[in-house]
């Protein structure tokens, strides 16, 4: 099951890379890609995902599509924030490492959460604890309390990510 | 307009080179190398835009992959562990 899903994803990536627009479809390329994706799916499928049945929940894809505009909005805000801090002559920074707590448990959910935190204003994930604690480097520390920092950094993503990955 | 873009990217790569040559700790140098790799992806994209040749996008993709793997390997090395984790 895991291997089948991985083979399918790899074959789609292969089609993206080699589709000839406006010319005839080259069957040899497709067949070679099919066998290569079966081979690599068979080899690497074991460590691919923990729970393959989550790939078939249709609502998860809808929430994933709803997650993209949120991420883009916070990404643009983050870049304007960095531009302000970098171009200001006095460098208005007050860095520090704070600790936040998250409710997510699955590995892929934690990965996406850490990546999103890195792309949002002023924060970068440094270390993930096994108990659901994240250590976050903050470029302008507003509070070092765990609850308040969680409210300010993690909540805006967690609500949607719970529906996608849990 | 494209000339301005090339000048921006050249300034970017010189700033990265400054950080690579100056950086006080090894980590700083690795950050410079990582960012320089992504700047090269930008160059390839703009050359694809100018010449409409598809091949440069392949270079961009593989450059992004290899730069990421190199950064991961060096950071594991800095961490003081083996490569097998």
């Amino acid at each position: 099951m895991k291997r089948g899903i991985l083979t399918f994803l790899l074959f789609i990536a292969w089609i993206f890379l080699t589709w000839p627009f406006g010319k005839e479809i080259d069957w040899q390329v497709l067949v070679v890609g099919f066998f290569i994706s079966i081979l690599s799916g068979y080899i690497f499928g074991e460590g691919f995902t923990e729970s393959p049945h989550k790939f078939f929940g249709f609502k998860r894809y809808l929430w994933a599509i709803a997650y993209i505009p949120v991420l883009i909005y916070w990404c643009i805000i983050a870049n304007l924030d960095v531009a302000y801090r970098v171009l200001h002559p006095n460098l208005p920074i007050r860095p520090g490492i704070v600790k936040v707590k998250t409710r997510l448990r699955s590995k892929s959910g934690l990965t996406v959460l850490a990546n999103s935190i890195t792309l949002t204003p002023g924060t970068m994930s440094v270390e993930i604890d096994s108990n659901g604690y994240l250590y976050i480097h903050w470029i302008y520390v507003k509070t070092d309390d765990i609850e308040k920092a969680t409210e300010m950094i993690v909540r805006k993503f967690e609500k949607i990510l719970e529906r996608i990955f849990e | 307009m494209i000339t301005i873009l090339f000048i921006f990217l050249l300034i970017c790569s010189f700033l990265c080179l400054y950080r690579i040559s100056k950086g006080p700790s090894p980590g700083d140098r690795v950050v410079g190398i990582d960012i320089l790799g992504i700047i090269v992806v930008n160059f390839c994209t703009i050359i694809t835009y100018l010449t409409k040749v598809d091949f440069y996008m392949n270079i961009a993709l593989s450059w992004a992959l290899l730069s990421f793997i190199g950064t991961l390997a060096v950071s594991k090395f800095l961490e003081g562990k083996g490569f097998d984790e």
């Binding site: 870049n79 531009a83 970098v86 007050r94 440094v126 070092d144 | 873009l5 921006f8 930008n42 392949n58």
Partner: protein, 107 residues
């Protein structure tokens, strides 16, 4: 119209790249540098790729889409690995930093 739109996207992406690299030089320690450069260069590259995708050959557009997804996944992961490695290697924060929860817990 499409040419103007793609040029605008590319110029904005170039500005963001420039800000990221200025941050790489100006900020004081490795963690701040990683933050500024990773954020700005990731969005800048995605905007440049988007500009190419709007007005380019269809083949390259698909490859550019894959490249954008790939960079959005890998650049924060590389930043995370590097910052964790420098914490483990014992590189300290900037001397004017406010809190360091990671060090407080080790004591």
């Amino acid at each position: 119209m499409r040419e103007i739109l793609s040029l605008i996207f590319m110029i904005v992406g170039g500005f963001f790249n420039l800000f990221g690299c200025i941050g790489l030089v100006r900020l004081p320690d490795i963690y701040n540098r990683l933050q500024a450069s990773t954020k700005c260069v990731t969005l800048g590259t995605c905007l440049t790729l988007l500009g190419m995708m709007i007005n380019g050959p269809l083949n390259s557009s698909l490859k550019g889409f894959l490249c954008a997804i790939f960079i959005l996944i890998t650049a924060p992961t590389a930043a995370h690995a590097l910052s964790r490695a420098s914490i483990k290697a014992g590189i300290n924060l900037w001397e004017k930093s406010v809190v360091n929860k990671l060090k407080e817990e080790e004591k």
